[in-house]
Subunit: 144 residues, 2 copies
DNA sequence: GCCCATTTGTCCGTATGTATA
DNA sequence: TTATACATACGGACAAATGGG
């Protein structure tokens, strides 16, 4: 499966393979992937390449690596629908490590920054949130 | 500056240091950072630690690494103000490598997914875009 | 055009610490 | 206690692209 003569780096190839497995549902959300060592053996790669591949998948938000346990396929968190009422300006960026900790945002997940006039910005983890311009006078955040 | 006896990993410490330099403007947008080798010498770290630190900064969208040149402090792209009209649903996620390529999105930058009723989703690089709900019937994207 | 130093990208191997089962 | 597994580091090596002489 891995083509060592390809000009596509092997850790990208491995990330492609695992990502395709996830997309196809061959490994399901919440399920743990093979360990680094198993992946090294199965694909005949070094540890660095395997870790780089997992790093790519974390960066894409597809998996979540837990120390001393393994890398899990990320569960699709139930979405909070957050309604906003204009005029609003919305930007998005990656959180700093501190913001990740404060807002409980996993690695590879961006962050909403919502600026309403005369208010200070609201920040929301983007993997749990769908932003809705309702046009109605409901601004509540529907917690599930 | 780097505390090897700290329980905070050295590559995080280095990312903190460089990130603080960027935030304070001691290195300016468009400017190139010291090379990996220089950073290794200056901070007495191995290459892996230096690369991990740069990887952290890329993941935060602070720097952009160009092969055979160096890591540059990312220029703040001039923002396109994109006006939307309700009802609209906005989600955000990290692009896949293919989408990054297609939409010309740098590493560490998330992507808007804008779903308007009866239309197919629009995707926009989030580092160039500020989303505005104006409440008016103007849906144009004001290119600068 | 060519050489050469620089710089990052891509790999390998090895080692230690630490949390989990 | 033992085995497993990941996190953090070190070292080395070669390839590929860039830019200056």
């Amino acid at each position: 499966m891995i083509d060592f003569s390809s000009d596509r780096p092997v850790h990208w190839q491995l990330a492609d393979i695992i990502g395709a497995d996830i997309a196809a549902g061959r490994v399901k959300p919440g399920q743990v992937l093979l360990s680094e060592t198993r992946l090294m053996q199965q694909w005949e790669l070094g540890r660095v390449a395997v870790r780089q591949a997992l790093g790519v998948l974390r960066g894409e938000g597809l998996v979540d690596t837990v120390k001393c346990e393994g890398s899990y396929v990320r569960r699709q968190a139930p979405l909070d629908r957050v309604a906003v009422q204009g005029p609003v300006e919305v930007t998005v960026r990656m959180p700093s490590p501190e913001e990740r900790k404060d807002l409980n945002i996993p690695e590879g997940v961006p962050m909403f920054v919502i600026k309403e006039p005369r208010k200070r910005s609201r920040t929301l983890s983007a993997d749990r949130t769908v932003l809705v311009w309702a046009g109605e006078d409901r601004v509540a955040s529907e917690e599930h």
